[in-house]
């Protein structure tokens, strides 16, 4: 278990799927600029699950967006490298990135209702993606999509293909989003708070689905919930105010946290006994 380690691995097959080295992201310009992400480094190997844990404002989502080339207007990578399967992607133009992404990275977001276009059927979005990235005919793509929907254990996938997002429950939409992310066989899956908006029992199913689907892929899970990270992740990276404060195997971080902030997060997540812990009384 180390703090903020700096890793450089050889970019050869067999190396890590994702390598992030000294990544910094800047928002705004001039003297009003802020740095939501500062000097973050980590790698994810094939078959590995890395969890980035932090509170809101820690920069964990920005890191995910930087990897997925989804940084909003005015926000950009200002330093460091992002290397995906040996290829640097932090310096590509949006067009080059688009050509790359469909096959390499699958993204799963928090709120599927706003991530799916409400006036299009679930199927049309997935079919379009399959046709574009796998160069399939419409009919072949449709078959692939039905297969993918069945793969995420959605009932009656042949009917669901023609359903609209609002006709599905939150859990079903999230499964569909995972199907979309996995459709073109990406080597990296990035899930940003994928279960935060879901009920506990549905969350259980979605996390299990993510873990199962990760298989031989690399999975990056962003969450504010240490308990969620503890059930799914092999390694955990803790972020605070844009910086990585601690990183290492999950068991190590949870059993023997080295950094005080990690200890704070753990304490908060353990639901202090209401009777015992009066230390916060009157503070909120």
């Amino acid at each position: 278990m180390t703090l903020g380690m700096n890793v450089t691995s050889p970019t050869v097959p067999g190396g890590p799927v994702l390598e992030v080295d000294g990544l910094s992201v800047r928002a705004g310009s001039g003297h009003l600029a802020t740095m939501p992400v500062q000097d973050v480094s980590f790698t994810i190997a094939a078959g590995e699950v890395l969890g980035i844990v932090g509170e809101s404002g820690s920069g964990k989502s920005m890191t995910a967006y930087a990897i997925g080339s989804l940084l909003p207007e005015g926000v950009a990578v200002s330093a460091g490298r992002i290397i995906l399967e040996g290829r640097p992607v932090h310096s590509l133009s949006p067009a080059e990135r688009r050509a790359l992404d469909g096959n390499r990275i699958g993204m799963v977001f928090q709120d599927p209702l706003s991530s799916f276009n409400p006036v299009r059927t679930i199927g049309s979005i997935l079919i379009e993606s399959a046709m574009r990235h796998q160069r399939l005919s419409a009919a072949a793509a449709r078959d692939k999509v039905i297969e993918a929907l069945a793969g995420v254990r959605l009932p009656r996938p042949e009917l669901l293909v023609d359903a609209y997002p609002h006709q599905l429950s939150g859990g079903q939409r999230q499964r569909a989003m995972i199907a979309l992310a996995l459709l073109n066989g990406p080597s990296l899956v990035v899930a940003d708070e994928p279960t935060t908006a879901l009920d506990a029992t549905v969350q259980l199913q979605i996390l299990a689905l993510l873990k199962r689907s990760a298989g031989a892929r690399a999975l990056l899970l962003i969450t504010h919930d240490l308990a969620v990270a503890s059930t799914v992740c092999d390694r955990i990276l803790v972020m605070q105010r844009g910086r990585c404060v601690e990183q290492g195997p999950a068991a190590g971080i949870l059993d023997a946290p080295a950094h005080s902030y990690t200890r704070e997060l753990l304490a908060a997540a353990r639901w202090p006994a209401v009777f015992g812990n009066q230390a916060h009384a009157g503070a909120a």
Binding site: E55, R153, P155, R156, D199, A200, T201, V202, Q203, L204, Q205, L207, A208, L209, K211, R212, D225, L226, A227, V228, S230, T231, V232, A250, A251, L254, L266, A268, A269, R270, W271, P272, A273, V274, F275, N277, Q278, H280, A281, G282, A283, A284
Partner: protein, 326 residues
């Protein structure tokens, strides 16, 4: 407790109309709450717990069944009696942003209940407001501010203070912690417990968070699809759950100590074949891994073993082993 219960719901049913569809939000629920007791109502979205709470609060009309407060039927008493009874039931809502009128100042918000009951003159009201603020550990400097100037935790404390202004006997808290951040949750939960004990109020605590429930509640009722599927003391239900849904809820709680994702449980649920709707069948049947032929006919709430207070609505309630987590 051999006294009559403070609140009694008998066969309570509520139907909601949403967008042209009619939904049975609460089906035939029977529940008791005694004086000074904390009863947690647990369930996920769509379980009907919020609708039940609102029916008790009188905000949502009851389709059938009775609601008794101090053994008086709230539907049939004279309006004047009903008004005075209902004032003894107050509510704290989930979203502190939405539960305070954004156009009013905090002072006005706290004064309103006192004005409504004709509490007294200007200075009497001012004193009572100071008392209320002290109870929720807030400073009088907030009185001139508007809700948007307060933090989530502060707003929720004001909501609690407002609910306490009329000296209620029953406080309904509908997911009062869900909209707060984690550190604030613990503080507000402690406040609830403290006030409940000091003022000897009954608390109907609606939540989806079993960890909070374990800390706060004396008894627990679990709701699913509008029905109460299990009820009993907190220890009985959370340590020896008898209903498959309660077991699933407990398994689904991400727990730092367990660190295990019960993939086999999830697989078992995923592999369940869809079932056609049958009117008298158990409503949990479609998702239940324990289901059998007998479940075509829904079970009644019945005692689990020797504990007469622990009831579950399942034919197999007596066979579940206790949970492994400690």
């Amino acid at each position: 407790m051999t006294r009559d219960p403070l609140l009694e719901a008998r066969g309570l049913s509520v139907t909601l109309r949403s967008g042209g569809r009619v939904v049975q939000a609460v089906r035939d629920c029977t529940l008791e709450l005694h004086g000074g007791e904390v009863l947690a109502l647990v369930g996920e979205s769509g379980s009907g717990k919020t609708t039940f709470a609102r029916a008790v609060a009188g905000i949502v009309p009851v389709a059938s069944g009775e609601l008794l407060f101090h053994s008086q039927d709230l539907a049939t008493v004279r309006p004047a009696v009903r008004r005075s009874l209902r004032r003894r039931i107050q509510m704290v809502f989930q979203d502190p942003d939405a539960s305070l009128n954004p156009m009013h100042r905090i002072g006005a918000i706290l004064a309103e209940p006192l004005l409504v009951i004709g509490f007294g003159g200007h200075s009497a009201i001012r004193n009572r407001i100071r008392e209320l603020l002290a109870m929720v550990r807030l400073d009088a400097s907030l009185l001139d501010k508007r809700p948007r100037q307060l933090s989530g935790g502060e707003k929720q404390r004001i909501a609690i203070a407002r609910a306490l202004a009329m000296e209620p006997e029953l406080l309904i808290a509908d997911e009062p912690l869900s909209s707060l951040d984690v550190s604030t949750q613990a503080t507000i939960a402690a406040l609830f417990r403290d006030l409940q004990q000091r003022l000897h109020i009954s608390l109907l605590f609606i939540s989806h968070d079993l960890a909070a429930v374990r800390q706060l509640a004396d008894r627990v009722a679990v709701m699913h699809a509008g029905e109460i599927v299990e009820t009993g003391s907190c220890g009985a239900v959370l340590d020896t759950p008898a209903h498959p849904y309660t077991r699933l809820l407990l398994a689904a709680m991400p727990d730092l100590r367990r660190r295990v994702l019960d993939v086999r449980l999830v697989d078992a649920i995923d592999r369940l074949a869809p079932l056609p709707d049958q009117p008298r069948a158990c409503h949990y049947r479609p998702k239940c891994i324990r289901r059998a032929e007998i479940c075509v006919s829904s079970a009644l709430l019945a005692p689990v073993g020797a504990d007469r207070g622990h009831l579950a609505r399942c034919h197999f309630r007596e066979e579940s082993p206790p949970m492994e987590h400690g």
